[in-house]
Symmetry: C2
């Protein structure tokens, strides 16, 4: 296969674009897709200070590298979950990456916050994944708000498409009116963006490989048989049979699905309430989800 | 496995209901699901004259049998497509079925209408499936309107779920605001219903088998590699991993998805226009789709 741009031998074959790219042209393509994803959805301006939520994985590190090279002011944020045999490696990987690329790294230790994930896992009877996600998002939001950053996460097209499929299967009006590459700033919430939304997991993995991004790829020891990967596989099988369906599904949602649900939700009255303990915005109840987990830990 | 109702040996195992049924209790279950599907969506009243569109397949014949046994006034309608090695057998099967069960059968010959499917296929350069569907729906609608019937088709849950998945993948606002077990009568359109919408293909096949419905099951010789069966398989794979997802997806759509898109479409202004040749309602243009096909045949 030849590079569709320059005709040299291709290094990356991409079915959904029905094309191959050599290394240089692939990196150009990746750059353009990130830039177009930012511009078309108006994610942030060139001078906006960006806080990239870093897990140590290929997506978040690739995102930080690419944004920095496109001239953005990039900081990293690492939340140390204190998961044995996983968090220490992820932290080391992230710190090494940031040192190498001159990216300032903010860190927060959940163990110091009394919320280490093994402790949370012990206190809760259900699988810990949802609580872990909630705690991470809480600190991402809190730190971005306090420090005046726009948040950027490494979610790629496959993450977004699987999430959208899950939301559509449940016809979840709240999520279907809100999901997308941009969550604008609202009372108590920092602006959140997903600049890699146009790029597949395969494309991001190729970028990380070609750019020599050393990343942490071991799966979390607590995440077994997550339903999310079932949905990811289903959408990938569809993509294999009908190339282009993933981006069409997501793009069509942004253009036609999301506005329809946003209109339907406009009529509802939603009150903003604040957590009595920490002051975070909550969707209901006196305490936010994270302070609820704190109480569960105290009572365990 | 035991019947979940009476404890006898089960004859039918149903994963999505996590239950098995003996023959008698399965037929009771089927009956209740049809009745509930009619009542909950207000498809038609007990005295409404029903015209069942019959293909000779298990779904349409089972539907006609069950409706008749539930006391409805049922007529059949068979459109003879004049497809070699297929239509004659389907017609014979349908006629035998109707004679056996005392159901009056209306027929229409596409060959006499100058629209035999082999002729249409020769005149069109694209696959004939979409034109064939258009022609059938045209005559279903025309005859139901002329004779004052409510139309009923044998679409089952799998048909509807695959169609919904296809519509959702494209976020097709027009279809997502209209798809469902009931298409109410509007100017130029008969009332159309799908009383089997709560029952899966597997369940309808079991009903046909247990009731001794002799049906025509050979696939159409023109329908090869249709994308629709890809979507059906995908949704069935999902159902196998997460039982209950198919009916939840469809039900959630009826409760939350469809109203959101209907609201979004309310703001649009849609004009009704009539075909200059046959007077049927068209979505635009001077001629309806079927009269367009007639011209293609004349020019071929």
């Amino acid at each position: 296969m030849k590079c569709k741009v320059c005709g040299q031998t291709a290094a990356v074959a991409m079915k959904s674009h029905n094309a191959g790219f050599c290394e240089k042209c692939f990196l150009d393509f990746f750059r353009k897709m990130v830039a177009r994803g930012i511009k078309s959805q108006n994610l942030f301006a060139p001078s906006t200070p960006i806080l990239v939520a870093m897990s140590g994985g290929k997506d978040s590190l690739s995102l930080a590298l690419e944004l920095k090279e496109q001239g953005y002011v990039v900081h990293g944020l690492f939340i140390d979950l204190a998961i044995p045999e996983s968090s220490a490696v992820a932290r080391e990987t992230t710190e090494t990456f940031c040192r190498k690329h001159g990216i300032e790294l903010l860190t927060r230790d959940l163990a110091r916050e009394g919320l280490s994930i093994p402790l949370v896992k012990k206190a809760l009877r259900r699988p810990v994944c949802s609580a872990c996600g909630k705690i991470k998002r809480y600190y991402f939001n809190k730190i971005a708000l306090e420090e005046g950053f726009t948040l950027a996460t490494g979610h790629n097209l496959d993450d977004e498409v699987a999430r959208l499929f899950s939301n559509a299967l449940r016809w979840d009006e709240a999520y279907l009116s809100a999901q997308g590459p941009l969550m604008p700033e609202t009372e108590g919430f920092a602006r959140k963006t997903k600049p890699l939304w146009r790029l597949t997991e395969f494309e991001t993995a190729n970028y990380a490989f070609l750019r020599g991004v050393e990343c942490h790829s071991a799966p979390c020891p607590y995440a077994k048989g997550a339903s999310f990967s079932v949905l990811k596989n289903i959408m990938q099988n569809l993509e294999n049979v009908m190339p282009g369906r993933k981006i069409d599904f997501y793009h069509g949602y942004l253009e036609r699905g999301k506005p329809a649900f946003a209109l339907a939700r406009e009529r509802e009255n939603r009150n903003v309430s604040r957590c009595e303990n920490c002051g975070a915005v909550t969707s209901g109840g006196k305490l936010c989800g994270v302070c609820g987990i704190r109480i569960a830990i105290a009572q365990a």
